[in-house]
Symmetry: C2
């Protein structure tokens, strides 16, 4: 029998907050011993008859040539055979190395490869939420949060308005009050840079936010959804989310900090579905939390896609990566500036935005009707009726079309 | 609000068995309207600012060149941008077409693309099991069944010994008796060809098995795990699993039949993680079941990996596919024959095997100790102590090494 008790003991002892927040499912999860561990033991055997995947008479993969011929610069083995459970070891290590370089003082679990960022959020939800959990999510937010946490896991969602008006500012006081009202274990989802607001806090706002979170009266899991990490277009903003600040300032007796990030936006690999889930935890608790998360993927997906992992690994290992990312980021920043200036020139009321791919315009109760009217003119935007907002994304809009976009929206809202 | 009531009404009315088996989670699931549906409405707009993925000034993807250069024969768009929720439409249609050609009289839901076969089994578990569900699984079976159904979902597992000895035969009477004992909604997992037995029923065994299942006294979801579909090495066996037979002979008032299959083994694409989940259901019930399954993936993974889907689509569209598959299948069949003949020549007691990648030898209570002893000699095999079996896989063992493999195992068991 795999020792689920040992996992639970490590977490209970070394990260009390994680234990107190853990769901019934989380507490019973362990990574099962079986064919995969027996196969691991047989690695290097002269005769290896352990595993149900196919190799040729020299131990090499036998892909269909029609597939293999489409891949150039990746080996057949890394594309066509099973990658390890939990993700390629070199990829997990590479991701941890770059996190550790950015957060040198934060103890990190080995990042688990997840099937995109949704999967990282979903695993956090599986491990730490149930019908007795309050989950604080920003308003407005990515709509899938409601689906992941409320529809799927049955958690009790509490919206916290993330911005206040007149003047526009981060609603730190509101979040602080909401946290103080909590009466049972909870989860807090942070999304910096934010979707749909396109907002990233300043350094001083971030400090105050972390103070408010660190004062939680209940055991709390904080999930940093860092999907848009690094897409920062103005000075004086925090440039790497809240994860490191939170990990440094919160007490494992009360708060567990998790980071969900990945290649989807950071490496512009939307189709790849390569995300990572990392906990700010040390020692045996870190290992046990990573093992619980891997057990979650074993029951739901098993291995993660090999071609996608191979492509991400290839990118991370390339000396050209930084220069190639810069070309794309520069183009995005140029689009941002055109949009910012066009909106300002027309005096359109809008939420503060300074990062990610978005601007959110004030449309009041006409948000959905304006979207429909724009659609009829061949202009696609997204409405967020709950906050009376129209979201304009510049990630798919060329800079030279942005003036026409803003003009069409302005005419509609006039 | 998306109309979860309409989905539930369609299932309740048109597939009563599916409704009666559905879990609380399954009943509350719907595919959420939001950014993705608003984006779908904006397709074709002259200005499209709806979605948070990146395109260049001509609407084309902007992959990192370091990744793009590794792909040859696939378009950047099909590798680097988001594929549709639920899977590429052309891929889902192509998979349905080939299923429909093989099962011309079976009504089929549109196959949902899943993240490998584990994900298909997991979605079936999410939709149809909970702590009040009995799940019948074969003994011996792939160990992950226990993890997916019991550890993860909390279902009550009931093992049914799949074979009887003296003489060896499929345990149809045992399964029939087990089904008759059921007192509440249940799930039955079938795995043909079987892992770890490597056994596929004869045509007459299959008929009797279907009779036993059709006589279920309770609402039943039958999940056909067809991972090894088509890997059949002897005549007179059923060559395409039990899905078609079951769908033809069972009553939607009492039984829902689901099929889990995919590219992992059928197309020898182990690393791809492309599976499919298909229901034998018609009309609105088929659509509602496919929608519930898609809602499940939206909350847990969101889109499926694009490079893998592109490679599978490329294979399915190739006129060379059949010939390329035959080369690999012929090599597997040749290995099978060497193994079969070596085991027979040495008179080693074994479970019947005729398909998939495996033979299961009788090792009694020495199964695990024999595995360990073989490991010390550099020979890797898998033990199944619950049935006193040693599994030899010929998918990774060259034909010319099989005699040495059998000799080493025989010496150990002598």
């Amino acid at each position: 029998m795999p020792d689920v008790d040992a996992l639970n003991r490590a977490i209970r002892t070394e990260h009390p907050a994680a234990w107190r927040c853990m769901s019934a499912l989380g507490r019973r999860l362990f990574f099962p011993v079986g064919v995969s561990s027996q196969s691991a033991e047989a690695r290097g055997c002269r005769l290896n008859a352990t595993i149900g995947q196919l190799t040729d008479d020299h131990g090499q993969p036998m892909p269909l040539p029609v597939m293999a011929s489409a891949i150039d610069g990746l080996t057949d083995a890394e594309v066509f055979l099973y990658p390890p459970q939990g993700g390629r070891r070199d990829l997990r290590a590479a991701w941890r190395d770059q996190l550790q370089a950015r957060f040198p003082d934060t103890p990190l679990s080995l990042p688990l490869v997840t099937a995109g960022l949704t999967n990282g959020l979903s695993i956090a939800a599986e491990l730490f939420t149930d019908e007795d959990t309050d989950v604080l999510i920003p308003l407005p937010c990515w709509g899938n949060y409601q689906h992941i946490f409320r529809t799927y896991r049955g958690a009790n969602l509490i919206d916290y308005p993330c911005m206040l008006r007149d003047p526009w500012r981060l609603n730190i006081e509101g979040l602080a009050a909401q946290i103080q009202k909590l009466e049972r274990k909870a989860m807090l989802v942070l999304n910096v840079p934010g979707n749909p607001t396109g907002y990233t806090p300043t350094v001083s706002e971030a400090e105050a936010l972390v103070d408010a979170i660190a004062a939680s009266p209940v055991p709390l899991v904080v999930v940093c959804d860092d999907a848009y990490r690094g897409m920062i277009w103005e000075p004086d903003l925090i440039d790497d989310g809240l994860f490191g600040l939170l990990a440094a300032r919160t007490d494992p007796e009360r708060v567990l900090v998790a980071k969900v990030d990945g290649a989807t936006k950071e490496l512009f690999f939307f189709g790849g579905r390569v995300g990572f889930l990392t906990f700010a935890a040390a020692g045996a608790a870190a290992d046990a939390l990573a093992e619980k998360a891997k057990a979650c993927t074993r029951a739901t997906i098993s291995a993660m896609p090999a071609p996608s992992q191979a492509l991400v690994m290839r990118a991370l290992g390339s000396p050209e990566l930084a220069a190639q990312r810069k070309v794309i980021r520069d183009m995005l920043q140029a689009r941002y500036r055109v949009l910012r200036d066009e909106i300002a020139a027309r005096g359109l009321p809008h939420w503060p935005f300074n990062s990610a791919f978005f601007a959110l315009l004030d449309a009041g109760d006409r948000a959905e009707s304006a979207r429909q009217a724009l659609l009829a003119q061949g202009v696609g935007v997204i409405s967020f009726p709950a906050v009376g907002g129209l979201r304009l994304s510049y990630s798919t809009t060329p800079a030279d079309q942005i003036p026409a976009l803003v003009e069409a929206v302005a005419a509609q809202l006039a």
